[in-house]
């Protein structure tokens, strides 16, 4: 009883000891905040890293790819049983993407991914990241009338119609100036599409450029094999492209092959120099046409030939992982197979990869090994990777960072422990007489020991308790704190143009909080063991005589 009472009284009257545990408090608070923010970031990042990546992907590095994908999927199903949830075949292909922005061409390298819009969403979080609300429900490669993200003030069909109208007006003006023709021209696509051709190097005229007679002539000659010269295309050189037989392509009501672009390809965040507000700038919008150029697999003699196609942006993909958003562009699988020449004369289409989704909690590394055994790389030449393999360097770096931060911060608490040790020795010296009194009244050594141990323990509990409360409070209000610091310093703490997040993500893991709090308390107790032991061994007569 006297132990508790005295420990409590010491706690209440010795403010210097409370000062010594402020470092414990701060250490605990920092640890909790850092862990919450880091795990928030990690979770967010893993989510996004996993985003378009399936659990496991079987890749064929060859240009011609895997021909019998369905056969392989059936085999994998046999192998993995009910652990396999979904599988889909994809084509991956590096390509160049061109589009026009305010009269200038923009050229970007992208990774084209041909996907089956029915099955692809079942292997990854793909549809979750689409901007169009309808597409998030049922992903498709059709341009929508509405339902786009509110950042897009105009997009989809309304945007396309507006563009075509403007184009037409420009055309009229041009024709008036050039030829004095009053009648409106047949509507034409803003960017003419060009069908890929076997053995012929064909590029569409630079999109958006006003028709130049020379290029018009040139493209006329090469547009359709065989029947090119029969086409009366002087007026509408691109009408034959992808248009129903005998009819012109009406860009106001029709669109080319749909393409879903990564957000960072067609979008930038910019900070206004004066107001300092972050605004969205769209280089292209759903409804615009873009041109892709890629190496086709069906060049003469198995060689590579460049192929081009015009596509219409139907949606954006925003995983908020810049790495993905700046590089991925999705096309319908069959269209990409056709453009890339992956369909053989018998009609069998090849793919470059098979993506697999397994049940939650499956051991992906083990499944990968099983698949690698079933399809030995020496025979099939497949590369089998889990999504974590693909992102290993990144994940490892982040994990290392978290570990190092935890070690460093725990060292801070350990340093605080030495502070407690020093102050405890002082308190024991100060309390020497009290120890003598207690012993003269019959208190056993263990009783004296436990007074100081429970004093250390209660200091630790107070320190880590207050630290935990502070840390949790900070984490819960971290965005308010960030805004307050912004307001005070006038500098942005958390720049949304850099991080894509508008809010700092945090996850409070109760287990981590518990470990941190208990660990800090233990350090305080350990720091008090030595002084307490010394106190308990004091000789009563000497302690009483101590002045």
């Amino acid at each position: 009883m006297y132990k508790v009472l005295l420990a409590w009284r010491y706690l209440k009257t010795r403010y210097i000891a409370l000062a010594s545990i402020i470092s414990v408090t701060l250490g605990v608070a920092t640890l909790i905040v850092v862990n919450a923010v880091m795990s928030g970031f990690t979770h967010e990042m893993k989510d996004r890293l996993h985003g378009v990546l399936s659990d496991v992907e079987i890749k064929s590095p060859t240009v011609r790819g895997i021909v019998n994908a369905d056969g392989y999927i059936a085999k994998i199903k046999d192998l993995c049983g009910d652990q396999l949830e979904a599988a889909t075949a994809i084509v991956r292909c590096p390509a160049l993407l061109n589009f026009q922005f305010r009269g200038q061409m923009i050229n970007q390298q992208v990774m084209l991914v041909g996907i089956d819009d029915q099955t692809y969403s079942s292997v990854s979080d793909f549809k979750k990241y689409l901007l169009n609300a309808d597409n998030r429900e049922h992903p498709s490669f059709q341009l929508h009338e509405n339902g786009y993200d509110q950042r897009l003030d105009i997009a989809g069909w309304p945007h396309r119609r507006q563009q075509v109208e403007a184009e037409l007006k420009l055309q009229e003006e041009f024709n008036k100036l050039q030829f004095g023709i009053e009648e409106p021209q047949v509507r034409q696509s803003k960017i003419p599409s060009v069908q890929e051709q076997v053995g012929d190097e064909v590029f569409a005229p630079i999109p958006g450029q006003l028709p130049d007679l020379q290029t018009e002539d040139r493209s006329l000659v090469i547009i359709e094999s065989g029947e090119t010269n029969n086409k009366p295309s002087a007026v509408d050189p691109y009408s034959s492209v992808r248009a129903p037989t005998g009819q012109g392509f009406d860009p106001a009501t029709e669109h080319h092959v749909g393409i879903i672009l990564g957000m960072a390809i067609g979008h930038q965040k910019a900070r206004d120099a004066i107001t300092d507000e972050v605004s969205d700038i769209f280089l292209c919008r759903p409804g615009d046409d873009v041109q892709i150029t890629l190496p086709a697999a069906d060049g003469p003699g198995g060689s590579i030939r460049p192929a081009s196609a015009v596509c219409t942006v139907v949606d954006f993909y925003e995983s908020k992982m810049h790495q993905y958003d700046a590089s991925f562009a999705f096309l319908p699988l069959s269209d990409l197979q056709r453009i890339r020449g992956m369909i053989d004369p018998d009609g069998r289409a090849a793919v470059t990869g098979i993506q697999l989704k397994f049940r939650d909690g499956s051991n992906l590394d083990q499944l990968r090994s099983e698949l690698a055994t079933a399809f030995p790389p020496m025979i099939h030449g497949f590369q089998i990777q889990t999504w974590e393999d693909v992102q290993r360097p990144m994940l490892a770096a982040v994990e290392l960072e978290i570990t190092l931060l935890n070690i460093l911060l725990f060292l801070i608490i350990a340093v605080a422990g030495f502070g407690i040790l020093a102050i405890f020795f002082m308190i024991v010296v100060e309390k020497t007489k009290d120890i003598g009194i207690l012993k003269s009244l019959g208190a056993p050594n263990e009783g004296v020991l436990s007074i100081f141990l429970s004093y250390g323990f209660s200091l630790g509990v107070v320190g880590s308790g207050v630290g935990t409360a502070l840390g949790l409070l900070f984490v819960i209000n971290i965005n308010k704190v960030a805004r307050a610091i912004e307001w005070m310093t006038g500098r942005e703490v958390f720049d949304p143009t850099v991080y894509y997040f508008t809010e700092i993500p945090t996850i409070i893991n109760p287990f981590t909080v518990l470990i941190v709090a208990v660990g800090a308390t233990l350090i305080a107790v350990m720091a008090s063991v030595l002084p307490s032991f010394r106190a308990s061994r004091l000789h009563p007569v000497e302690a009483l005589r101590y002045e």
């Binding site: 009883m1 006297y2 508790v4 009472l5 005295l6 009284r9 010491y10 009257t13 007489k433 009290d434 003598g436 009194i437 207690l438 012993k439 003269s440 009244l441 019959g442 208190a443 056993p444 050594n445 009783g447 000789h539 009563p540 007569v541 009483l544």
Partner: protein, 258 residues
């Protein structure tokens, strides 16, 4: 001075009471035989007690007097089992106490004797009442103490009442005068209903008036409750008030006065 009623009717240590009643010399409550004690300082043994024999009669007020450095405080510490003699034996009633184990000595100090000091030695963080209760808190574990707390508080209040401090329950020691602190210390030494009170210069740090009050209090306790008191003092006047005086001179008993 309020008179005590039946405070000491409940012996804590079961020891066979001497059959003889007051008047005749009883069997001594405390007996020391050939006590030697020396302290070592810089590897040099300095003898303090050089063969002390003494008997403390039951129910009497015994003084131990002597010059500074004559070893009287050391002797008291040995009698209180706060320290152990180098050789010799100390008996408390029929029990030898100088060779007890640490735990038994702790129990002995807690239950069988009361000790008061020249410098009062109260715990500064606790109130008067809590200071009086400390021996009980030490004696019992948390739950038993909590269970009996009401009775103990009652008893502690009675004791404080007895020493004339009924209005000072919640004061901290630093808010009390020296005489008041010594009274609290006396109340604390009585809480376990001991047979024997050991006092180390109880008036040494007090002015004359306060010293006399403390002496009166001790004598009353001795008279009314037949509490055996052993008191160390260097003041012959105070020693004169006692029933029995033991003179210590350079580590030996010089003269016994009845």
């Amino acid at each position: 001075m309020p008179r005590t009623t039946a405070f000491f009717d409940k012996p804590i240590v079961k020891i066979v009471r001497p059959k003889t009643s007051s008047g005749l010399p009883d069997k001594p409550i405390l007996r020391a035989d050939r006590i030697f004690k020396s302290y070592s300082k810089a590897n040099l043994a300095i003898p303090v007690l050089k063969g002390v024999d003494l008997e403390v009669p039951q129910g009497k007020l015994t003084s131990i007097v002597g010059q500074s450095g004559s070893g009287k405080s050391t002797l008291l510490h040995l009698l209180a089992t706060l320290d152990a003699p180098d050789s010799g034996e100390i008996h408390f009633l029929d029990n030898r106490i100088d060779n007890l184990g640490r735990r038994e000595r702790d129990r002995f100090r807690n239950e069988s004797i009361g000790i008061i000091f020249q410098f009062y030695h109260l715990l500064p963080e606790l109130t008067t009442l809590e200071n009086v209760l400390v021996p009980k808190m030490i004696a019992e574990n948390f739950f038993r103490y909590a269970f009996n707390k009401k009775a103990y508080v009652e008893r502690a209040k009675h004791l404080l009442d007895l020493v004339g401090l009924s209005h000072r329950f919640t004061h901290k020691p630093r808010e009390l005068s020296g005489g008041e602190m010594q009274r609290v210390a006396i109340a604390r030494s009585l809480i376990a209903s001991p047979k024997l009170l050991l006092a180390d210069e109880p008036t040494g740090n007090l002015d004359r008036e306060n010293g006399e009050e403390i002496m009166t209090l001790l004598k009353n306790l001795n008279d009314d409750e037949s509490l055996t008191i052993v008191m160390v003092t260097h003041d012959p006047e105070i020693a004169n008030e006692s029933d029995h005086t033991i003179h210590l001179e350079s580590g030996r008993v010089a003269l016994k006065a009845a």
